[in-house]
Subunit: 714 residues, 2 copies
């Protein structure tokens, strides 16, 4: 209970207590710990100085507060008197090694938790392989977080520095790279916090940074003690861990005092130790951690032990409970079991919830500025903010304008992906979807055995559901040639053409089939397209668009035709129709279905108003016009662009794809029910035509004429 | 920058500094403030003690830290030396007045922000009207948050205590109730934090609670200064605010020292002041806040001014910027403009993001226990946890078992609702849906002019999108007779029958039409059903189920028949079909469509295997069996239950409803593609039959026989 009666007297008592505590911290604790453990008695460091709940009471007698809170996490750690936080605008530096698809997802969740609690500018130093760099460069560029700087370092270049160390840990060579950070980070950088990708913050990193202030003159590395018995040895027969002080230290969270490390000859030091140990130990089991521990065992004065709350380690057989059960304040959770979130632990649910908080957290909400700190805006952010601020909220098409300007976070290749081998006639299916079309993916995979590039418009939470969906689908989980690009939701209108452009930009084959998610291609289409591209020698005449005729069924369950002949039979029986024959015949009339029935060879067709066929084009074709958001005219504008650039439309006689029925989208419902929505679409069309005239001059006249004719008919 | 060289010397310096600061806080600051302002010089309190950025440097000379951080928010406030946090398991008390639908939504967002940062057990004391109580009792019961106690107090009973005060503020009588909290909260409660529903926490409330420790002996109320010029007067001609010290105080966040208030005769004190002021001022403009300020003006020793970060007030013309621009740490945001989130403020985006964080935060993640605190589980939570822990993760139907046990948070009447007037033959349409069926709602409203009770299965984020959807729909926003109940998503299988039961339990008319969201009733159905109920004198023979025959169309756009005759024409033309005639004829065969064609009067039909008609039944009909989650057999089981309880099935000759096409749900797709899914459904059916036999004995034999026959056919 809080003392209620006499605040001043209480204040004085507290002051006295604080003096004792401060004194203890400054003059009592570290030497005590060092005396007991640095002398080499294994096990004493952890038992007495970090994991034993009684350490603070030793020097102080029994006081309620200290007894109940031995880890210095509540009234003592971050808020403890001797800990002065750096000024609010001081940049904090964080280094992380990250390689591959899965770690790239992990690091984003870690970053969200960092950003959520941080109040200082952050500089992330990311040591990445080509895959992670590709993903993360796009992500951070589109994320546009104020007061966040990201630098990339090529992990390939570091490989030779550590590849001589045999390593059995699943992290491979990347796991060892933390050892060489002092040599590769900029010399201007005096201090850095190094993190594993599998940690989650639940507090402000500035409190961790401030612990540099507790280092003694000689200390260069801040670490939390290991919360498992691994380094004690004898876990099984012939279990022989690397040398360590007691339980050793965990390297998931490291405070590196870089300039001091340089001065102490770190590079030589760890190499000498590693080489000597490798003579008998053959390989590292826990990568860098083994070597850090061996060095510390030899030079114990180098390490500054950190409170355990800064690296709560959640393995199956963790001793972490001894840390957190007493602490009200957990600072960093470390999912350092290979089982990750599925780790068995009686409080696993608690930790999972903390992690899920950031997994599902809407990253755009972290585009928060830091009040009163200068120069915090990433490239383009200020201009964007100004453009958005200039929009008139009362204007009827405000929502459209705002949606057009929105920069969505983009996470390319969200899942592991095997890029297709280079083949001159290969075709990637390009499409976009949101959560309500997920059930199309399995069927699509059965119909299209080739590469796909799909953009998904999802919330952060849905992205996790999507991940689960793919991982548990026997059909999808084996298809490594399908690249999924997550575009994060922001705003009420579906940014259909922005999505298409993301998927198109990530297609890696020379040709792309620009499709929609609710169409299933003929089973033979992938092979047929590649054969046609080869036969038609498209590579020598690049400006060709191959048209794939579109049909539709109104039945959810129907047997998909195995050939053109079967398709024609269904068409004649009325079970199939040409696409949108009743609602929007002009969309596909140029395809000339009656000619297609009889055609044996590709035939050329001319553009006509509102034509929007599904086409196969070279990958470098024009992009979709991102001004078209929501429902309507998004493909039509793209086909006009192709025509204006003098693409030739060739209909393929054996190609077809069939539209399956689905619930009308919210956007189409709004289009139908709202005159404003239709007026705004009309305004977009007109602006598009103005741009077209500007770019193509009189050649664009025919599109304008067509629009005017269409309008006079309406 | 952090000092790097000599940590001990630095530590000693910091210690010295702290001593000065502590001394200043304990012995310097409060008297200084009091001398200057309590003497009655208006404006000096705020200028010198709260809003002026130089106050701390007065006593200390210029030090970087203190100069830069005048609000004591970073190194000094929560973490400041004299502020001792209460023990981690100490219960903190919070009182909130809450009335109506919209405030009930607000308070949930506030509670999420509280729970997110809190590390202590919390006791919420909610003073509610009947509407809020109904909503919040259900919500907190189903939320099952550990270490959270909720008590309700009837606002009706408080009305007479404040209704004599004329009040012009939009909060009405409820706005005044904070004045009487000291008389109605339990006498055992010594201290309480009082909050408005429109505040958002961005820090741990324990830090606010700890400020009680800074109260002097005489102080009884902790408040943050007002961040507008309202109480300075002269904002416009004849603007005459209530008396206040300088800018006065804002009552959105109050620390009430209850037992001291009692001792000081608070009740008499505020009444005397209010009555006196009302002689000249006629009415309060800002409800309780005017009276609090008038009392404080008269008895300035009662107030303990709180740092401004604990109530950052976001009105259009707020002075809050002077508070937060200097502070890195905002603690509580107060949306105290009637415009709420649409407030104009150059940092509005920042504050909105903070608020949106909790608006969309998945509340189930707050079911986190507090480590090391005893007795924190709400009723049923421990048993539930045990039952879940006993499930075998490797069992093939694990997902089904887990989903059945899941307790979903339920927010009944999410939007303002006008209960239907009591009418003996009235019927409520009952259905459930998820986000992907939202576009059905407008059409449904056009077809059914009567009351509806709809359960929506949503994430927290989707609930906000849903709110926006209804508010911007001209059709939906005017329909106050539609009650929307949000059931929050948790788990991979759609809990269809749990949803139906929520909607059914909230229906307020004597009869319910148990429908599905993808059906549109005949335009006349609502009137026809009420007439039929009256004519058939159903109230005298309660066990009747009126059958509404079901049809389907495969076209998204079709003209809905205006009569049975028109429907029959469409049926004959093949544009309509009897429901699932091709896929699942047994579902509706008992309805006997050919008899219905000719029928002029209601006719009785017998149950047969797999019968699942849409029926109208008394509100107290049996509930749906919640074991059926995902796709399959959920309605069939309910109809069996009706039959087993000897309900009579009467088909209505003029009633019909038509199913519109939609994309197959993920659940039906999984049912079709996964043998495990089908096996689990089969297991559920068998368990259902076993229960049936247990309850109805030999009378249930016919259902089992039917099941076995069906299986032998399969």
């Amino acid at each position: 209970m809080l003392p209620r009666g006499r605040p001043r007297a209480m204040g004085a008592a507290v002051l006295l207590l604080l003096l004792l505590v401060v004194g203890f911290f400054l003059f009592g604790r570290d030497p005590e710990c060092k005396r007991r453990s640095w002398a080499g008695e294994e096990g004493t460091l952890c038992d007495r100085c970090l994991l034993t709940p009684r350490v603070f009471s030793d020097g102080l007698g029994t006081t309620a507060t200290l007894d109940e809170d031995p880890y210095g996490s509540r009234n003592l750690s971050a808020s403890s008197p001797q800990l002065l936080l750096p000024p609010k605008c001081e940049m904090l530096h964080v280094a992380i090694v990250c390689a591959g698809y899965n770690s790239s997802r992990e690091i984003i969740t870690l970053t969200k938790s960092l950003l959520f609690y941080r109040k200082n500018p952050l500089h992330l130093h990311l040591i990445t392989d080509a895959i992670a760099r590709n993903i993360l460069e796009t992500l951070f560029r589109t994320w546009m977080v104020p007061a966040l700087v990201v630098s990339f370092y090529d992990a390939e270049e570091l490989k030779p520095l550590v590849s001589w160390i045999p390593n059995k840990h699943y992290s491979g060579l990347y796991g060892l790279m933390k050892l060489v950070l002092p040599s590769i980070l900029p010399p201007s950088l005096a201090q850095v916090i190094v993190l594993d990708t599998d940690v989650t913050f639940s507090s402000d990193i500035v409190e961790l940074w401030a612990l540099f202030g507790r280092f003694s003159d000689k200390q260069v590395v801040g670490l939390v003690e290991n919360q498992s018995d691994w380094y004690l040895g004898n876990l099984w027969k012939n279990h022989r861990p690397w040398p360590a002080l007691g339980r050793g230290f965990n390297t998931g969270v490291i405070l590196l005092w870089l300039d001091r490390l340089q001065q102490t000859g770190w590079e030589q030091m760890w190499k000498v130790t590693a080489k000597r140990e490798l003579l008998t130990l053959m390989a590292t089991s826990l990568a860098d951690q083994d070597i850090f521990n061996a060095v510390i065992k030899e030079h114990p004065h180098l390490v500054h032990p950190l409170p355990c709350v800064w690296n709560v380690q959640l393995s199956d057989h963790t001793l972490a409970e001894r840390c957190y059960l007493e602490a009200a304040d957990l600072k960093v959770i470390h999912w350092n079991s290979p089982k990750k979130l599925r780790v068995k632990n009686k409080h696993a649910e608690f930790f999972r919830n903390l992690h899920l908080t950031f997994l599902g957290y809407d990253g755009k909400l972290l585009r928060r500025e830091l009040f009163g700190c200068p120069n915090q805006f990433p490239p383009g952010a200020e201009q964007l903010q100004q453009a958005l601020a200039q929009l008139d909220e009362e204007e009827p098409c405000f929502e459209f304008r705002q949606q057009q300007l929105t920069v969505h976070r983009v996470h390319i290749t969200f899942l592991p992906h095997q890029p297709p081998p280079p083949r001159p006639h290969d075709v990637t299916l390009v499409a976009q979807l949101s959560m309500d079309r997920l059930q199309m993916l399995e069927a699509l995979c059965r119909h299209w055995p080739g590469p796909m590039s799909l953009a998904l418009y999802l919330t952060d939470e849905e992205a996790q559901q999507f991940l689960h969906f793919v991982e548990t689908s026997p059909v999808l989980s084996v298809r490594k040639d399908v690249a999924y690009h997550v575009v994060y939701q922001d705003g009420p209108l579906y940014p259909v053409n922005q999505l298409r452009n993301v998927a198109l930009a990530q297609a890696l084959t020379p040709y792309v089939f620009l499709s929609d998610i609710d169409f299933l291609p003929a089973y033979s289409l992938y092979d047929y397209l590649r054969a046609s591209i080869e036969q038609l020698e498209l590579d020598s005449r690049r400006k060709t668009a191959l048209v794939v005729p579109a049909f539709e069924t109104l039945h959810y369950r129907f047997s998909f035709p195995n050939s053109k002949a079967e398709l024609l039979t269904l068409l004649d029986a009325g079970s199939l129709h040409t696409f949108r024959y009743h609602e929007w015949p002009q969309g596909h009339s140029s395809t000339d279905y009656s000619r297609w029935r009889e055609a044996q060879a590709p035939y050329r067709v001319q553009w006509s108003a509102d034509y929007e066929p599904y086409v196969v084009v070279p990958r470098d074709c024009p992009r979709y016009d991102p001004r078209f958001v929501g429902f309507g005219w998004n493909k039509v504008a793209h086909i006009i662009e192709l025509d204006a650039q003098e693409y030739e439309f060739l209909v393929l006689p054996e190609a077809f794809s069939i539209h399956l029925p689905h619930t009308p989208s919210l956007d189409i419902s709004r289009f139908r029910s709202s005159p404003t929505y239709r007026n705004c679409l009309q305004a977009l069309k007109e602006e598009f035509h103005q741009d077209l005239s500007r770019r193509y001059g009189s050649a664009a006249l025919k599109y304008l004429t067509a629009l005017q004719q269409a309008r006079s008919r309406a």
